[in-house]
């Protein structure tokens, strides 16, 4: 299982449809303050099923929909899709690719997609657990959150540990 590309549209500051073609090894994301780098990290967490708005630095889940800016009105929905390469072909759709998508509309309506087909949140969750990509299954070190690893009291540390072990 590996990440092939990330597509965002209407997600936070990514008003326009954006495709990020990821490859193997070490990829850097750079740019000035406030340009949207951490928003890319949030997008991946979100499409993988993150339920907590707080973990996405938002007050409420609808805050992830592009809210409009100078001369640009808000987006009707937020959408993120990650396309994974599945060489063993166990879960993949056409071309050995597995596409996991999520959408949230201004109406509050929410959709989960697997290979383009609407499914339940649970189906996405189960699949990700299966492929080792459940929310715990990938390591994310969010901005400013390193100290939390050490500062946590012994009991909290354990939950981080158990999550990964």
């Amino acid at each position: 299982m590996y990440l092939k590309r990330i597509e965002l549209e209407g997600f936070k500051s990514f008003a326009d449809r954006t495709v990020i073609p990821v490859e193997r090894g070490l990829t850097g994301i750079v740019g000035p303050n406030g340009c949207g780098k951490s928003n890319v990290v949030d997008a991946i967490l979100w499409v993988m099923g993150e339920r907590s708005a707080k973990a996405l630095r938002a007050d409420a889940m609808e805050d992830v929909i592009f809210k409009g800016s100078e001369g640009r009105s808000e987006a009707p929905y937020a959408m993120v899709e990650v396309v994974l390469g599945d060489d063993e072909g166990r879960h993949a759709g056409p071309g050995g690719e597995l596409a996991v998508g999520r959408r949230l509309f201004q109406t509050g309506e929410s959709e989960f997609l697997l290979n383009g087909r609407k499914v339940r949140r649970k189906d996405v969750h189960d699949l990700l657990m299966d492929t080792g990509l459940g929310v715990q299954g990938y390591m994310v070190l969010a901005q400013g959150k390193i100290d939390a690893v050490l500062a946590a009291n012994p009991a909290e540390r354990r939950s981080v540990f158990e999550e990964a072990a």
Partner: protein
């Protein structure tokens, strides 16, 4: 079940020290279960001693030392439960140049199995990436992805440093 947990725990503790020693070029570090408690319930205690320094509470470690210690622990956990990809958001912010080097070298041990997406402002980290994606906001409030060559990155800070000499 208790067996399994203790086994994993020991393995992570061993790896934690190994990665720590690599990042600090020496020293000692371990994670222990709080004594006199049921292993399946006990909190986790962290001890870390950079080379040449006295063993003491991790509270007294410097900002950069705490960052490296936390990274060593997370990478140790990650090894036990490898993930297809790992997102690191400005984890190098508190590190001096030499430690950024050591940290990116340590990542090399993982990059053939794992894709790393690192958000960074640090030139050394950027130089070690196999590719860079730039994010900008050409139209205010709207993020745009651009391709970036390492040679694109202005050397303003060093130029200014030189100009002042």
């Amino acid at each position: 079940c208790r067996e399994k947990f203790l086994e994993t725990f020991e393995a992570v503790s061993g790896r934690f020290e190994q990665i720590f020693r690599r990042l600090f070029r020496g020293g000692k570090a371990e994670i222990k279960l709080a004594p006199d408690e049921d292993p399946l319930e006990a909190g986790i205690e962290i001890t870390a001693r950079p080379p040449g320094k006295d063993l003491r509470s991790i509270k007294l470690l410097s900002g950069g030392e705490r960052t490296l210690t936390a990274l060593a622990l997370l990478l140790a956990v990650f090894r036990s439960r490898p993930s297809p990809f790992c997102l690191l958001d400005e984890v190098d912010a508190a590190l001096d140049d030499a430690n950024v080097e050591r940290f990116t070298e340590a990542l090399d041990d993982f990059t053939h199995d794992t894709q790393f997406l690192v958000v960074t402002h640090n030139r050394i980290t950027m130089a070690r990436c196999e590719r860079l994606f730039g994010v900008t906001m050409r139209r205010r409030g709207v993020s745009l992805l651009v391709g970036v060559e390492l040679s694109d990155i202005p050397e303003e800070s060093s130029d200014r440093g030189k100009a002042a000499e």
